[in-house]
Symmetry: C2
Subunit: 172 residues, 2 copies
């Protein structure tokens, strides 16, 4: 995503706003900082997972499976929940199956389909990773009050809602 280390100064933003009247300086500053912090978090997460021989994509799949009461799902459902294509999911599952963390089980009722099940090794991997991840995340967020956490979620909700305006205009 965006790794921009060098956020624009107020002076630069003003200069851009002068050339482009559509600019909303505080909107831009907030947007850039949002992208920057989110990217930094994602990179830090990658670093944490790599110490457990995992990559984000595969790790999210394990988590999605653990959410299911029977530890089971299908490639299409997993792909949709993770927001990747089914082709990508095939690759993620190949890697996980090769590592013994998930198991492909054929489905007699619908022979097109496959069940994906979290194995004991997969659960064990999560049991190793999650405490590490949760601990880091807690430390990282501990400077935020409950009020600020609520505020953050509310603000992000507004932005998320506002994105329909962005998409609407894609027809220009």
């Amino acid at each position: 995503m965006l790794q921009l280390r060098d956020l624009p100064t107020q002076e630069v933003l003003q200069r851009f706003a002068q050339r482009y009247p559509a600019a909303d300086v505080t909107a831009i500053a907030s947007f850039l900082m949002l992208l920057r912090v989110a990217t930094d978090l994602s990179v830090a997460l990658d670093a944490c997972l790599s110490k457990h021989d995992l990559l984000q994509g595969r790790w999210w799949v394990l988590i999605l499976l653990m959410r299911e009461t029977d530890l089971t799902s299908t490639p299409s459902v997993l792909a949709e929940k993770l927001g990747v294509t089914r082709a990508t999911m095939t690759g993620l599952l190949d890697g996980l199956e090769q590592g013994g963390l998930v198991q492909r089980i054929s489905v007699p009722e619908d022979r097109r389909s496959v069940k994906i099940k979290l194995t004991a090794a997969g659960q064990a991997k999560l049991d190793a990773v999650m405490p590490d991840y949760y601990t880091r995340l807690r430390l990282c967020m501990q400077g935020l009050s409950e009020q600020q956490r609520n505020d953050l979620q509310a603000i992000l909700g507004v932005i998320d809602h506002g994105m329909s305006a962005w998409d609407f205009n894609q027809s220009i």
Copy 2:
């Protein structure tokens, strides 16, 4: 980054927190929503730029060049400011130079180095893209009060600062 469409319910979070005592439920929920919204914004930005035959990486380079009063920089400085490797920057500049949006100019004083200059066509490209981008961004953020924009930036600042704790623990 994270495209997780399916954020965990409170019930799922509680279940995970029971298994993993290190879990801080509101921290996790805030974190996931932050990654999700940021990713959605980044994807929307990609869609906007692609209509102008641009990709994020190349576009950020153009912006970094426009920030300079002489519209000029070097590959290393651009790479550092954008947070990519110099190898990646070489590729970005190749694409931009081929499209005539930037120009490589040799530097007699230090023959290892190259100056990169935004061309008139590059400036024209920005003049076409930026109003579109700024307009979408404004619409997207218009639901946020000035107070909320300030809150957001303050909160992100706290998280960014908290990430030193994350990194500190990487030595585990």
